[in-house]
């Protein structure tokens, strides 16, 4: 059965979105992305190295014709910075999409949801397709959608922590609260974590460190790909309810006395 994934008229072939940071080199990045089967990669906006113009560029390895490039505002701690980076990213000419981050704290990298809400509202009005990276808080998720977010990206756990989906119940409530897609972003440490996110009903999972930080990132990219597909299929199939006691699965009729 067809299971299409469309946000604001943009169709995504893959429900696994992949970050491009923290790899050994661009070659490893490209191989992991290939293996993941994704069609969406996130990138950061940074100054060009003026002195060393021969240094390779990420987009030499990741073909923007083949992948949807999703710029982020990683490293932004204020609304003003997030707006500036978003506008620069759009001007750099990839798309109107932005994975909006307004970070509140160095140690946890938790989002500053007040700033995030403000920035979402402004950018949505400017025609951006805003994907805010947010806390696993259903009320804030609702406010972000009301402010014009195209989807919400709640964290499973702190960025790069690999702790998995720490509060599946909140993610579930977010899914029931907002009518936009929900994409789990951050915290996924291994394949089962992404399967859990998808089994909850999330529309996609964005993973960077979980792949890039694995001992074999390319192999982990393949594992994540299958886990996301399996989790989505399980969600669509509808799992059995959890019960405390056993229910026999073989008939009792015909047993020897």
């Amino acid at each position: 059965m067809e299971d299409r994934f469309i946000i604001r008229g943009i169709e995504f072939k893959s429900r696994l979105w992949v970050g491009t940071g923290k790899y050994r080199d661009f070659e490893e990045t490209a191989r992991a992305i290939e293996e993941s089967g994704t069609d969406v990669v996130t990138v950061a906006v940074r100054r060009i190295n003026i002195l060393d113009r021969k240094s390779p560029n990420l987009l030499d390895y990741i073909d923007p014709k083949r992948y949807k490039i999703l710029p982020n505002t990683a490293g932004c701690y204020t609304v003003e910075d997030a707006l500036r980076y978003s506008r620069l990213a759009r001007e750099a000419g990839v798309s109107d999409m932005v994975k909006l981050e307004v970070i509140g704290d160095d140690k946890t990298l938790f989002p500053d949801v007040c700033g995030l809400l403000k920035a979402t509202e402004i950018l949505a009005k400017e025609g951006f397709i805003v994907f805010p990276y947010t806390n696993d808080d259903p009320i804030i998720a609702k406010r972000l959608v009301d402010a014009g977010a195209a989807a919400v990206m709640p964290l499973g756990a702190p960025i790069g922590s690999g702790l998995g989906i720490r509060n599946p119940y909140n993610i579930k409530i977010i899914l029931e609260t907002v009518d936009t897609p929900v994409i789990v972003d951050a915290g996924v440490g291994t394949a089962s974590d992404s399967a859990i996110a998808m089994e909850l009903g999330c529309d996609a999972a964005l993973i960077n460190t979980g792949i890039a930080g694995a001992e074999d990132p390319v192999a982990m990219a393949g594992a994540m790909k299958h886990a996301v597909i399996a989790g989505r299929l399980a969600y669509k199939a509808g799992r059995i309810p959890k019960k405390l006691y056993a229910t026999a699965s073989s008939p009792l009729k015909g047993m020897l006395l």
Binding site: K22, L59, R87, A92, I159, N208, G213
Partner: protein, 79 residues
Amino acid sequence: MRIRLNGEEYITGDVKSVEDLLKELKIHSERVAVEVNLKIISKSDYRIFILKDGDTVEVVSFVGGGGYGRQVYYTGNRV
């Protein structure tokens, strides 16, 4: 002309417009964005936007990134 380019002092050659500067730097304008004194210059204006002495210019592009704060170096199980 002396400008501040990506945070560093930079002395240009025979540069008038943003387009001239990018040409001098051998930067293809395709996937970059240019900001002069905090104002984003749209690609269609690169030719007509004239730079002047003392301008602060930023030229940015895309680098690898997922979602994290200030540059965080991976310190996990890989050596």
